[in-house]
Symmetry: C2
Subunit: 240 residues, 2 copies
């Protein structure tokens, strides 16, 4: 079975300017890994219509799923929904379901709808809604593109709600072995191990701790038999 592939598309000037650290990519990657959906690419682009259209079209053609975050709020810089309508040549329409949800939500707080709040009800025609337990305003999905909020807690709630509807793949398991040896000392043995077990993906990550070089060796595979065999070999091959 082939693992479903996916891309993450982070939409937001605040990430590209360095103002905000993106943590959504990591959350999406580690959440989807649990159901065997593999993130093959992540992109961050500005809040600009043309950039969104181009990236959404390119990524949705290339991967099984695209997960966007950001740009679905009430302000003028929130243009994800409009851009995606144009990308897929569908109308940008008011969802009466979302509108009623918003109306109820604001009424329950003694507040009224306004133009900005109404804007959050506009989505590409034919989208399905994505539940948001935090602030109630739904995200939306159209074709293989899932549009989630940028605020991490809301993004997580939306992601959890779509998990059951996604195709599952074989789960990638990973085993890590950390040694206080610099990676250039063990690289040759590690490469030989990679050649012996081509179905296991092996990565080497150097670090420094109290001035001493260490390396984390990470083995990842959906083939658990070879993963465990490779891990046993690794531990006998490389010793501190």
């Amino acid at each position: 079975m082939k693992n479903p592939s996916a891309a993450v598309l982070i939409i937001g000037n605040e990430i590209l300017s360095g103002r905000t650290l993106d943590t959504n990519t990591q959350t999406i990657a580690s959440t989807l890994e649990k159901i065997g959906v593999i993130i093959r690419e992540a992109r961050t682009i500005p809040d600009e219509k043309q950039a969104i259209i181009e990236s959404v079209l390119a990524l949705s053609q290339k991967y099984d799923y695209v997960f966007t975050t950001g740009g679905i709020g009430p302000t003028h810089d929130d243009i994800t929904s409009l851009a995606i309508s144009e990308a897929f040549s569908v109308s940008y329409v008011r969802s009466e379901t979302i509108y009623k949800l918003l109306e109820q939500f604001y009424q329950s707080r003694g507040e009224q709808m306004n133009k900005a709040r109404e804007k959050m009800a506009f989505i590409p025609e034919g989208s399905t809604l994505i539940k948001n337990e935090v602030t109630k305003v739904p995200g939306f999905a159209i074709k293989n593109v899932y549009c989630l909020a940028g605020v991490p807690d809301i993004m997580k709630s939306m992601l959890n709600s779509i998990m059951p509807s996604l195709k599952h793949g074989n789960v990638v398991r990973s085993l890590s072995y950390t040694v206080m040896i610099g990676e250039s000392k063990i690289a040759e043995s590690f490469e030989a191990l990679q050649n012996k077990y081509p179905s296991v993906d092996m990565g080497s990550y150097p670090f420094t701790k109290d001035g001493t070089h260490g390396t984390s060796l990470v083995l990842r595979a959906t083939d658990y038999v070879n993963l465990e065999a490779a891990f046993r070999d690794l531990k006998s091959l490389i010793k501190e």
Copy 2:
């Protein structure tokens, strides 16, 4: 004067699997912002030759600069240098300068060169070297592509060393105004302000603090006169 544009290309399976949180994009963005180089896009791709070649070619054609991180170490999964040689159809050659640096470095620690260490001396022919004050092994630059290490401290050292050689642009200044008002209440006024000052880029970032909704309104521009005028207007327009 037009601001130089740039893309960040993060090369590494460990980011796409969610194992490691990428902080290099934020560091590069906030560092380059100080000299007016604007990050227009960031991509994260796996340690795969074809993916590196395609992204490097696409981004180097589209932007003034490309900054890659990761994949320049001694292990078999470090293939950035080889992939970039192929991307630009130049030879993958041993730099005698790097080789001597490595030899001296290991000799000073009473160690010898080996095949994995020698690998770090291989770069695309015609590259210039990028100084690394941390572990000495240089990065390299070819055409408008700067290849930096993935380890954050080493990446920063390399980035600092190339800063003086980059074209500078007008520095983007930003002014932030944070209010404890939900963004849907102020979105209409904020949009009117954006329309009044088109040379100022305005972003709205919601957050929750102790259960109350707040919004950070961020104004960014290279046109400081309009930036300050817009900021004065903002503070008189939107009050808690």
